[in-house]
Symmetry: C2
């Protein structure tokens, strides 16, 4: 962008649209830090596997535009798929191990699609920094890894998970939930808290932390657990014991809708609840 | 590079060292076009498969430095493998179909390694343009494809194949050839000429063009053909007939040393030989 040459700080928030208060938090953070805020809206076909929800993924460009305006976005970039991936497109950015575990195990190819479009959008927008939500914690780790590995000149700014009043992490996919499943969905954040509470009691045995979280999920009917893991927050490697600050990561399905959530667990009693 | 911000044009020639007159042609071209010429020397482990010639690949940094000086290189960048790929490195740039054919069929993973290091070096050096030899024609096509796909802001400048007086395309790997095989190696460039001569006679049947090249290779003892192909010069797709300007691509082995060469064939009589 020519704006960069003019010495203005460019902040970037890449999204798939269907914007909610979680995205607004990312945009607000970008607005605080940047002279020029760019928001992209692109439902990236490369990050959906066949049979996933590409076609029914919520698209609400007019609402999104209004939210962007309210958040002080300067440039809303909403390209078409043919514009992003013209005929003959044949290049992929992909991660190794970090893309194959957790979400990658359930969604093969998903992160290759994410990294490819993020690299491409970074090249087009040329931001000084980009804001990503910790909601997609593995995605954030992968983007940081890519930026380090490929020496991209963009700072990655993480933002905490934004939650509804009952604790459910905001996600565009929450719109798929039936009324009953929406009422059950806070089981995930309660499960996080259960693991955090155990850690605060001084438990360092990872199996006991995940058991506490699984117990909380099992207490809610209709929740099908995909994984409950406590991992190193940077490498996402499994831990034998809570000997460092770590991350609890949960994926579960309710009525066919796959939800993810995550939160920190601290080694040693850190704060009172 | 801060030089870029100062408005100086940066030209870049990425190499694996063992520099020869072919590299000198790339550096000369960079010198003609740029204010600042950067040459990298890095024997990229990621583009060698297990069992390939990584450990014995020629390394002659002092000679290379002298050639760079003679060519007016401003910055010689010769990083170590740990510097390029620090522990935890986990990102890859890869192409699809274009990386799976021809050289990619014989050398799985080779072009992933090439694209990854080229993307990374582009990010470090931030050149306005980079010069690549047509000797590695598929590599050049892949780098162009990557630059287009990932919207990298670097111009790719191709340079024609530089040949020894007997026609052999210059390559650092020619040093592996025995004296006898070195004498036989111009069979590849003669095979190119045979196909070109057929095309100049008005032959458009691809099979007849490749047969002429194969005939020339067969006339030299000890040449084991890997492939002889006439392809679209941009997509490297096979052609049914010479209905456009195309590229002859040859790979063959002599005494265990794999050599490649390529040249244009023109649709319609273009020039007298």
């Amino acid at each position: 962008m020519a704006e960069r040459a003019r010495g203005r700080t460019i902040g970037f928030v890449p999204t798939m649209g269907a914007l909610h208060a979680g995205h607004a938090a990312l945009l607000d953070e970008a607005r605080r830090r940047a002279d020029l805020v760019v928001c992209s809206i692109f439902v990236n076909p490369k990050q959906f596997a066949p049979g996933e929800d590409l076609s029914r993924y919520p698209r609400r460009l007019e609402d999104d535009r209004a939210l962007c305006e309210a958040c002080g976005v300067d440039v809303l970039f909403a390209p078409g798929a043919d514009e992003v991936y013209p005929p003959g497109f044949d290049t992929q950015v992909r991660a190794g191990r970090l893309a194959s575990i957790l979400e990658g195990a359930s969604r093969p190819g998903h992160f290759d699609g994410v990294l490819t479009v993020v690299a491409l959008l970074f090249a087009v927008v040329q931001p000084h920094f980009a804001v990503f939500g910790e909601k997609d914690f593995q995605q954030l780790a992968l983007v940081k890894r890519m930026v380090r590995d490929l020496r991209l000149t963009v700072e990655i700014v993480p933002m905490p998970v934004i939650r509804d009043v009952d604790g459910l992490a905001l996600s565009s996919r929450n719109a798929y939930l039936s009324k009953d499943d929406r009422a059950r969905a806070p089981a995930l954040s309660r499960a996080l808290m259960a693991a955090q509470d155990e850690a605060q009691r001084g438990v360092t045995d990872i199996a006991r932390l995940t058991a506490a979280a699984r117990g909380m999920l099992a207490a809610t009917a209709g929740v099908v657990v995909d994984y409950v893991e406590v991992r190193d927050p940077r490498t996402l490697e499994p831990l034998a014991t809570l000997d460092r600050d770590a991350r609890v990561l949960i994926a579960a399905r309710l009525g066919g809708v796959r939800l993810i959530d995550n939160g920190p667990v601290f080694a040693g009693v850190r704060y009172p609840r």
